[in-house]
Amino acid sequence: MVHNSRSLTKLVGELKKLPGVGEKTALRLAFHLMKSPANVSALAESLLEVRARVRFCSTCFGITENDPCSICTGDRDSSAICVVEESQDLLAIERSGAFHGRYHVLQGALSPLNGVTPAQLRISELMRRIEAGGVREVVLATNFSVEGEATALYLTKLLKPLGIRVTRLAHGIPLGGDLEYIDAATVQRAMEGRSEL
């Protein structure tokens, strides 16, 4: 028993599972939460609510409360699909206001090292959307990491033979950078500078 309290130890343990949270941060967060009981119930409620209401859109696989999501059902350009790794990337591009088409969230990137092969990604679902017709351009907005680039190349090889315009965001983005952390202006520039593959 590290902290003389079984429940506190458990909370720290749960917090440590979150990305970017180590032992020290987990402890700080736990003590902070203990000091403000009002926040605790609000936080606990919203966690449960998110869990109960948020799901993945069955068309684009972005997060949504209504399936299909408002982007998939809305009045958007349905001839262009922007492919991203995660829902956060979708949000980053939406915030920039630079793209007016629809999205497809792969829910990851190719990484055999982490056991992710094409079958684990939402690639077959993307292909089904394209086979249904009406898509003229696919914008590949996977990250500029080794895995993101490999994923973009894999998709290019699948999509090019179908006679679809395939573009990639330009490198206005810091190398190895995750889309999620990039400001809107950078995404806009990258979107403008996208290039044919």
Binding site: P112, T117, V146, A150, K157
Partner: protein, 366 residues
């Protein structure tokens, strides 16, 4: 470039150390296991953020402490900069003049260091991995982008190897293309570096050996036609991968690429490894290190700092004199570790500071 001050806290066995090195020769002496090489390692780390002993972060911290701290004051072109490095289990953080550095490239060139140790003396006889490691380190010291390219290549390689071990190889062609692309970037820079230093190597070797022997250094790619590199690197690597497909499937490891390549040391047109005497091999490595130092001096308009770790027994009187003469001429700051001041040949060197390293404590001797 000169290190004016260095302080360490909970770095390996060095609990708390502060010293003010001299502008030229600094001798760190003491028995083995007292912390001399740890001190050298700390200086190297301050320049490269890497341990030349390939140590993990946790090994750099004094046992039972949460972090290690290395701080140095570096003078370059009349400007003092403070570099502070915090080593934690999860990673390293670096600040230059109190400002946090986010990308290694922004840090690059703050403190250039070259290490010369018995490991490198063994390069002439050792396996390709030793020479490859040396080459990568040397290329990186003059080219900030190389580290990023190196990491990318390693990542592609690990992914590709993982895929080769699976039953379902879907996507292998993609990883092969990425490997060829990333691999060519490394090969091109390695070859570029070797071409740049070959002339210097030849020059220094002649002045050491004092005869007409000719030396060379060449990139030796594994299973690829060296004549067509680096221009056709991507094509060659893809062809190589196709040729070795059966072997790869059997071994589950990528068979061609910069991770398998070697560097050939040449004396009078023949392989140094087989045809040279021990003395010739030592002269070659010494000349190679001088070439590396001179290459960095030209690149940054200022000589790097040289760390001579445990080299007293490796160089005989004549070669030692050659090296010292070179270092004096080029006005290089040098750190030398030794177990015995008697064995150290400081012929004609009056401008030096001596530090005794004993049980993790460092004290300047007057």
């Amino acid at each position: 470039m000169r290190l004016k001050k260095i302080s360490l806290a909970s770095f390996r066995n060095l609990q708390k150390v502060e010293l003010e090195p001299g502008a030229r020769f600094n001798i760190l002496y003491g028995n083995n296991g007292q912390g001399k090489t740890n001190l050298i390692e700390a200086i190297y780390l301050l320049g490269t953020l890497k341990s030349f002993r390939l140590a993990k972060n946790s090994e750099l911290m004094t046992w039972g402490t949460p972090f290690a701290l290395v701080k140095g004051m570096v003078e370059h072109e009349g400007v003092d900069r403070e570099i502070a490095l915090v080593v934690e289990r999860e990673g390293k953080r670096v600040r230059v003049d109190q400002k946090t550095i986010a990308r290694p490239a922004d840090f690059f060139g703050s403190l250039n260091v070259v290490v010369f140790s018995p490991d490198e003396m063994a390069m002439a006889k050792g396996g390709p991995d030793v020479r490859r490691r040396y080459l990568d380190r040397a290329v990186f010291s003059g080219d900030a982008a190389y580290l990023g390219f190196f990491h990318d290549y390693s990542r592609v390689l690990k992914n590709r190897n993982a895929l080769l071990k699976k039953d379902d190889n879907d996507g292998l062609d993609v990883w092969s293309e990425k490997l060829a692309e990333a691999g060519t970037r490394l090969i091109a820079r390695r070859i570029g570096f070797l071409r740049e230093i070959e002339g210097l190597l030849r020059e220094f070797y002649r002045s050491i050996s004092g005869n007409g022997e000719d030396v060379g250094i060449a990139y030796r790619p594994h299973l690829l036609d060296r004549e067509r590199l680096p221009a056709e690197g991507t094509t060659l690597l893809l062809e190589g991968l196709a040729r070795t497909a059966a072997e790869e499937r059997r071994t589950g490891a990528t068979a061609v690429g910069p991770h398998r390549d070697d560097v050939e040391f040449i004396l009078n047109g023949r392989a140094l490894k087989q045809y040279a005497s021990q003395g010739q091999q030592r002269s070659f490595i010494l000349a190679l290190k001088m070439a590396e130092i001179e290459y960095l001096r030209r690149k940054f308009d200022s000589p790097p700092i040289l760390l001579l770790d445990d080299m007293t027994s490796e160089l005989d009187r004549e070669r030692n004199r050659n090296l010292m003469e070179f270092l004096k001429q080029k006005e290089i700051q040098v750190f030398i570790t030794t177990t015995s001041l008697q064995n150290l040949r400081l012929d004609g060197i009056d401008n030096h500071r001596t530090f005794l390293v004993s049980d993790g404590e460092v004290s300047q001797q007057r």
